[in-house]
């Protein structure tokens, strides 16, 4: 298995598209008329200064927020808004900016909780499948163990995650999302607060998921080096509006983007 090239992605199927999405809280406009799409198999970065509406956008995609205007098309089905349960059942998994784990439960239980829903499995996840003779719980347990192996967290399997250091918590959270065998994985600042080594580990996991299992990934990240290295395409938000959309190189040269990040004299 090999990651699809940029050209292949450009020609590829759209997995998820948002069109004209607007979201306001009272008078505060979090997102205004934003449209973009995420294609099957790509790593799509969402960037922008603080308060640009990135996390709001993820919350719209997995159904936590219901936008006042716009449409969301996921796997060919168009909706006014997603619902969290429908999003999860449809194969959207996510992690959170401030780590939302089941703190009193062990690493293993957290990952098993990720298998609460019997997801429909994407073709690439065959590696985690086992013989039909095994009972369901054992089968799911095996999958969980393989995820634990993949993320190199065997040593903390039985520890309540509330006791773990932050970097490991982030990894467990990724494991829980992975346990859903998602078609679309939303990562909200997966590397926030990490040191260089942890960032490199995390980048490696993200690339492996994308390369070997073909998981489509949308990520929010502030570390520009990481964004430029990992992502196939980048969408840039500023004050809730989309100001740029394209390959990392295109976005890097975009004047509006440079202005948004560095500020301009008006």
């Amino acid at each position: 298995m090999r990651a699809p090239s940029v050209a292949e992605i450009a020609a590829g199927d759209v997995l998820l598209a948002v069109e004209g999405v607007s979201l306001a809280f009272g008078g505060v406009k979090a997102v205004s008329d934003v449209s973009f799409d995420i294609r099957k198999g790509e790593i799509r970065a969402i960037i922008g200064p603080n308060g640009a509406g990135k996390t709001s956008m993820l919350n719209v995609i997995n159904g936590f927020y219901h936008p006042q205007a716009g449409r969301i098309t996921f796997k060919g089905k168009t909706r006014r808004a997603m619902r969290p349960h429908a999003a999860a059942a449809g194969g959207i998994a996510r992690t959170f900016q401030n780590v939302a784990l089941f703190k009193s439960m062990t690493t293993l239980d957290n990952i098993m909780a990720g298998r609460s829903l019997k997801m429909h499995k994407s073709f690439f996840w065959q590696i985690f499948r086992h013989g039909p003779a095994l009972s369901e719980e054992i089968e799911h347990r095996k999958t969980a163990e393989e995820i634990i192996d993949f993320l190199e967290i065997e040593h903390i399997r039985r520890i309540p995650v509330g006791k773990l250091p932050y970097g490991l918590q982030k990894r467990v959270e990724l494991g829980r999302a992975l346990a859903m065998e998602p078609d679309l994985l939303l990562l909200d600042e997966p590397m926030a607060g990490m040191n260089l080594e942890e960032k490199e580990d995390m980048s490696r996991y993200i690339l492996s998921m994308n390369n070997y299992y073909g998981t489509t990934i949308a990520l929010i990240e502030h570390d520009m080096g990481v964004v430029m290295d990992l992502s196939d395409r980048v969408v840039v938000l500023d004050y809730g509006r989309k100001i740029a959309d394209g390959t990392p190189d295109e976005v890097k040269k975009n004047k509006a983007v440079i202005d948004a990040y560095l500020g301009v004299a008006h």
Binding site: A89, A93, F96, F102, M112, A113, S116, E137, M180
Partner: protein, 326 residues
């Protein structure tokens, strides 16, 4: 002299007639088991939904009342076999508790989701008075006799000749203790071993994370309300068998408050240990120290213990330590 009465005399009495001491201890233990069950109902709901369910006490009465009420109706309809009618009524009551859980989720919790805690708390107040009115309307306001015999619950005493005296244990109390331990063990296994149990713990820890992995909050809430409805029903049967079934029982819900303060609002072991401490503390305190204060201290001793606890350990015996970061 006072110090002697507080610190020495009671223990001398305990040593002088150990049979009386054991008898008091046993009665405290039994009361404690029932307190623990009520507190358990609170804890289940509080853990999963963050709602302090004021109606838990009334659910105890409502469950017991529904059981007896349905039994009476069935007998009136001509089911002559008393035991058959009783167990049929038990099955139907369990059904009613499920409907109640379902209705609470749909009508009360769901529309109020994400509202401040105080609003949900007030809603459970409303639920309390609704249940009182509804129960009286359907089954009448007069107090009833629990159908303990018809449910094959034992009656009478076991007299143990020990410690140079006689300790008499009510069989219904022994049954209550056994049934309560079976139920608590069952709940614990359910929580730790099954997929739904894992989902329940997940919801208790983080709503948004639970939603993100596709756990349905609606479903979980119905399950916890049903579970605590069952706990309430069992408590109602046991308590009703010792006294009678009437809305006067609702005050026992307030007895669970000190238990919760002692055990912590989120800890199941805390509810059990807290219940036993309060139950035993009340009885021993009243029997050996009550005379000092003119008797009747049983009714407020628990609250006093809870107050002392609040001063020194506000998170309860088993609650998580509260650390406020600034």
């Amino acid at each position: 002299m006072l110090l002697y009465k507080i610190f020495i005399d009671p223990f001398v009495q305990m040593g002088a007639s150990p049979d009386l001491f054991v008898q008091t201890l046993w009665e405290g233990l039994v009361a404690g088991v029932l307190y623990a069950l009520i507190a358990l109902g609170f804890v289940l709901i509080f853990k999963a939904s963050g709602v302090f369910n004021f109606a838990q006490g009334i659910m105890v009465v409502f469950g017991a009342l529904t059981l007896v009420g349905i039994y009476e109706i069935l007998v009136r309809w001509g089911i002559s076999q008393e035991n058959v009618a009783a167990f049929l009524a038990l099955g139907l009551t369990i059904g009613v508790m499920f409907l109640l859980a379902f209705a609470v989720e749909r009508i009360v919790l769901k529309p109020l989701v994400n509202q401040p805690d105080i609003i949900l708390f007030m809603a459970t107040f409303g639920l309390t008075y609704f249940l009182i009115g509804f129960g009286e309307y359907v089954f009448g306001g007069s107090s009833k006799v629990m159908i303990a015999d018809q449910l094959y619950l034992p009656k009478g005493f076991i007299d143990l000749k020990i410690l140079g005296g006689v300790v008499s244990l009510q069989k219904i109390d022994i049954a209550a203790a056994v049934i309560a331990s079976i139920m608590v063990t069952g709940l614990a296994l359910f929580f730790s071993k099954t997929r739904i149990g894992r989902a329940l713990r997940a919801v208790a820890d983080s709503h948004k994370a639970a939603l993100s992995v596709g756990i349905s909050l609606d479903q979980i809430w119905v399950i916890v309300w049903f579970a605590s409805g069952l706990v309430a029903l069992v408590t109602g049967i046991m308590w009703g068998a010792r006294s009678e079934v009437s809305f006067a029982l609702e005050v026992i819900a307030l007895r669970a408050l000190p238990v919760l303060i002692l055990g912590g609002f989120t800890s199941i072991p805390g509810a059990i240990v807290g219940g036993l401490i309060i139950g035993i503390g009340e009885k021993l305190g009243d029997f050996y120290w009550g005379a000092l204060l003119g008797r009747g201290i049983e009714s407020w001793l628990a609250y006093f213990i809870a107050l002392v606890f609040l001063l020194f350990r506000p998170q309860g015996l088993f609650g998580e330590k509260i650390i406020e970061r600034v």
